[in-house]
Subunit: 416 residues, 2 copies
């Protein structure tokens, strides 16, 4: 616990996440069967199991000739073994039958000599190398055996999983239904995009951005609009949203310095309400983690970058759980050399925005100058986070850091 | 050039890609305006430019009190400066006006003291620290200035770009129209999923898998079915596909050892036809790169893993170009310690499938045992490629390698 004026205490980030996830006890997601064409990116709800061996029969891995390997003993380019060509279904001693990649191995044969290691001469086939049984043969069940698991429940399906499932004869896959997430932003200062700005109004960027973040992870979102800074209005909208959604995400109205509108609204609606409020996390300190009707309510800061980091730390975990994953899906990561010192406060976990470049075979992470948690351009200029742990006061230039990657890497020497 | 029986010559991978891309001369993509809600993942066709400063006015970066910084000179917790609280629009000397994060800085003030560094006493405000002009103020235009580029054409939009565009007042974005790609697989041995297998038939897994790979990159695909091993049937389907598509991808019928059905079909249809056939690339040697009617035709192997690697090397570049990117979008990458020696042939670029795990702060890449280019389960067991260059004969255990990541990383010590 870290003391701070404003918040009575700040909860350590890992502890906050762990207690929230434990409290939520999210059950298995609803299951929906989708066609293979629609399955990529979805999260598998049931194991993909091989109903038979793949390949279903021994097949040639190359273009060449199927033979009995024993007939090639001692063969070399200088002392070829000679074979009779056959077109019969069965290969007998000293016979060779032409096969293309993927063809079944003919009965009697147990190896395939590659085309380039043979020569046809006077109607016969010369073989230039010695083969062992099984050479250039894809054995029945070599890819996957009947009963084996091809992909486990909880896996996010990529095109290769789809390919495997297709080869196994699946035409539909059972995946987690998309979690339904309601997004509500709060703040008297906010205006919807497409409207005319006046006075001190600013466009709300959180709602559409959070929706894109949820969608990217495989959820679907409902826009609950912009609530004014009013506990009753906020509570009313959260209550409505809970009726038809698996989770609610809010932004704004959570700073203890200002008004605790959203946490107050959440606590008005039931138990346990707010579980954690105030996290030793920069730039997402005012985040609150709550539960109502057994469903997660994620109360994020109104500052865009603080909302992003709050979602990164807590929202990802929440969505992954709603999708039936047992652990939070990590971002792509890499190790890079920190190109410039970054500062951080002892006792806070700090998310530093960096731009990673690959130059002459080395990854460099250049911190994107921190202009405060409102400057969303720092997120578009960067492609990853470096996480400074609580026990460090900054990280020095030249240190190796782990980067959690969210954007395209810059490759300095790329030609094409 | 590497000599090989079967192919007269193999073209080096980079050279093959470069000559194909140069020949293609793909123009700018068609542009379509999409709502911000639908823009994530799309590729920007026009720069996003700030039409005005963001923020539009100086605003408070914290909860606290706006003051003239000069009035705080010498202030400390032991010797506070005292201020008169005001609710007027303008802050005069020795006055303080309460502001919340995001509020405009009142006229006359030039700094904000944080709430926790103040105390209200007998109706007045004590300030405990000395401020410099601009302290805790987000300056007008600090995030992005009027006329600056927020995101460049060719950028793949992530949720943060969407957030920035929203804050800038955009309600639609101009993105590249999805390239239309026709997918045709060839092979007498292939059956469609959902049908009953008999004899030596196998399910085609390439068509749906390639479609998912194209879709993942932002293209849309049309299924041209399974063509028999017949040059005329293949040529006919490719010709039809070219009429309404930006590119054609085929699989199978490209092995010089067997029959060159697809390259022959392509060359029948016009000039230049096949530009490269046979690449010093493992496991995608029989790949052919072609152009008809100025459009790319990518002729992949029928072996699933060879088709995957052929698409990885050539297909990604093609789709990225069709989307208007000037360079191929790289996969996420990382450096890892190779956990076991991998073999490769001198003179070939070799794609090795590996499984990357993060354990005790170190990334390890475990090669997934190569069962030949047909075993698609090796792709689902792995999460990245290690590329062995042409001038290496294998890579030793313990060497540091760059991994191109296509699947979720495994984090050994992850709790939540």
């Amino acid at each position: 616990m870290v003391k701070l004026k404003g918040f009575q205490k700040l909860t350590l980030t890992d502890q906050a996440l762990q207690s929230w996830i434990n409290a939520l006890q999210i059950g298995k997601p609803k299951v929906v069967a989708v066609s293979l064409q629609d399955a990529s990116g979805r999260v598998l709800a049931e194991d993909v199991i091989a109903q038979e061996d793949l390949p279903r029969f021994d097949k040639s891995a190359v273009d060449g000739y199927a033979i009995k390997s024993a007939d090639s003993v001692g063969a070399s380019q200088f002392k070829p073994a000679t074979f009779q060509l056959t077109e019969n279904p069965e290969v007998n001693a000293k016979q060779a039958k032409q096969v293309w990649t993927g063809n079944p191995i003919p009965k009697g044969a147990n190896a395939v000599v590659m085309l380039e290691n043979t020569k046809k001469r006077e109607g016969k086939l010369e073989v230039w190398n010695q083969l062992a049984p099984g050479d250039n043969v894809s054995k029945k069940g070599e890819d996957i055996k009947k009963g084996e698991i091809g992909a486990k429940a909880g896996t996010r399906l990529n095109p290769y999983h789809i390919g495997l499932a297709t080869a196994l004869g699946y035409s539909k896959l059972k995946v987690a239904e998309k979690p339904k997430i309601a997004i509500l932003v709060t703040g008297n200062e906010l205006a919807e995009v497409g409207t005319q700005l006046s006075g001190n109004l600013i466009y709300d960027s959180n709602k559409i951005m959070l929706s894109a973040m949820c969608t990217e992870l495989g959820a679907e979102t409902t826009d609950y609009g912009i609530a004014k800074d009013n506990v009753d209005e906020i509570a009313d909208k959260i209550q409505k949203a809970l009726q038809s959604h698996d989770a609610v995400i809010t932004t704004g109205g959570t700073s203890v310095g200002g008004l605790d509108l959203v946490p107050d609204a959440v606590n008005k609606l039931g138990k346990p309400g707010v579980i954690v409020h105030g996290v030793a996390l920069r730039p997402a300190m005012p985040t609150a983690l709550a539960m109502l009707e057994g469903k997660p309510v994620l109360v994020l800061s109104g500052n865009p970058v603080a909302a992003i980091v709050g979602f990164e730390v807590f929202g990802r975990s929440m969505v992954c759980r709603l999708l039936g994953m047992s652990k939070t899906e990590p971002r792509p990561m890499l190790k890079a050399i920190l190109a410039r010192r970054v500062a951080s406060a002892l006792g806070r976990k700090t998310y530093v925005r960096v731009r990673v470049t690959l130059k002459s075979g080395e990854f460099y992470a250049e911190p994107v100058s921190a202009k405060g948690s409102g400057a969303i351009s720092t997120m578009t200029q960067s492609n990853g986070f470096v996480i400074v742990p609580e026990n460090r006061e900054g990280i020095s230039e030249g240190e190796t850091v782990v980067v959690h990657v969210f954007g395209s890497l810059e490759v300095a020497d790329q030609n094409v």
